[in-house]
């Protein structure tokens, strides 16, 4: 046999325990039951005051909702934490409920990953057992077969486990962005009301769907929406039926929600996509390039076109 029943049972328990620890580290103490807290305490893995990624992302959303696009992109995580420590972030009961639902959603993803790993462990172990039996029947020395089978089983298990990294990365990226955008949405409604105009700013490397839904035909200028017109989610819809949502439009979506300020409009500009120097003038990444300089051929490869929100001059 490849694994004894005891070994398999211990591995399955290790998966349960490590995922419990992951839930604590990513969702915080509040997401665990008393029984789960006791289990972590017994194993010496319990930490106190863990907020988790949903609360972290909500704080980020609440604090950055007031910032213009260029500033929001540049606040660092450590400075964000300093702000969170200094400021008491007030949340409405609806926002608290939204955090609870978002936590449940991430919890369900973690549960799904854990169940899938438990299932794969059991089936790989059974398959390894069958291989071992066949080889012993072929008169290979039994203990050598067991050693080789266990080694191969470990390789297969670790390979299966490593494949889960991308699944988790997708959950982390999508859910963090989702929570941030919902917090920004709440702050916009709270400050400006449900008729406030907003726009979604996709990243330069966004997908065709975000480009189609969030930008005008020029692929640069953001479309303007009323904040209460945004859909809740595209979950379960075909891509052709997707709408612009408050949170992530789709898994891995990183589009950001901004309030549109009255008296401002979008102007197309060219900005530096890499640092460079023309004469005595140095341009940093993101800096607007004046039209006169743009005529110089050497600049052309170092710029990209974008639309920025500027006060109307007329």
């Amino acid at each position: 046999m490849a694994l004894t029943k005891k070994q398999l049972s211990e591995i399955l328990q290790a998966i349960e325990d490590r995922f419990l620890e992951l839930r604590l580290n990513t969702l915080g103490n509040k997401a665990l039951s008393k029984k789960e807290i006791r289990r972590l305490q017994k194993m010496g893995l319990l930490k106190t005051n863990v907020k988790g990624m949903v609360v972290d992302a909500n704080n980020f959303g609440k604090l950055t909702a007031i910032l213009p696009p260029s500033k929001r992109a540049k606040i660092s995580y450590s400075d964000l934490q300093k702000l969170v420590d200094k400021i008491t972030i007030k949340r409405t009961p609806i926002e608290e409920k939204a955090i609870e639902y978002a936590t449940e959603s991430v919890g369900a993803h973690i549960q799904g990953l854990k169940d899938s790993m438990l299932k794969e462990t059991k089936s790989l172990s059974a398959a390894a057992g069958m291989t071992a039996i066949r080889r012993v029947q072929e008169e290979v020395v039994s203990n050598i077969v067991n050693r080789e089978t266990v080694s191969q089983l470990k390789t297969n298990l670790y390979h299966a486990f490593d494949n889960k990294h991308r699944d988790w990365y997708r959950v982390a990226q999508t859910e963090i962005n989702n929570t941030i955008q919902h917090a920004i949405h709440s702050k916009i409604v709270e400050d400006h009301g449900k008729d406030q105009l907003v726009y979604k700013r996709p990243n330069p490397d966004c997908c065709v769907h975000c480009r189609r839904l969030c930008l005008e035909g020029d692929g640069i200028t953001p479309k303007i929406f009323k904040v209460n017109e945004l859909a809740d989610s595209n979950f379960g819809k075909k891509a052709v039926d997707w709408e612009v949502t408050v949170g992530s439009l789709h898994p891995f979506c990183q589009c950001q929600l901004f309030p549109y300020t009255e008296g401002y409009s979008f102007k197309k500009v060219s900005v530096a996509k890499e640092p460079f120097k023309i004469g005595k003038k140095e341009f940093k990444v993101g800096e607007i390039i004046p039209t006169a300089i743009l005529k110089k051929p050497s600049v052309s490869e170092r710029i990209k076109e974008t639309a920025i929100l500027m006060r109307d001059e007329e």
Partner: protein, 62 residues
Amino acid sequence: MMRLSVRTDEQTTSEIVEDLLMKSMEKSESRNEAQEHMVKKYSRAFDSMMSKLKEDIEGILK
């Protein structure tokens, strides 16, 4: 501006935001740095869990 009513002894909330923001902007040029950091932080939590799990399995199977 953000309507946070909390005031520390020396600075109002908006002053703290602006102050930290300016320092932050001097240090960073990347987009959505805090958000990307957050994703990496929670992505690492998973990797760390996986490493510990593999150690557990090594211990069980040795």
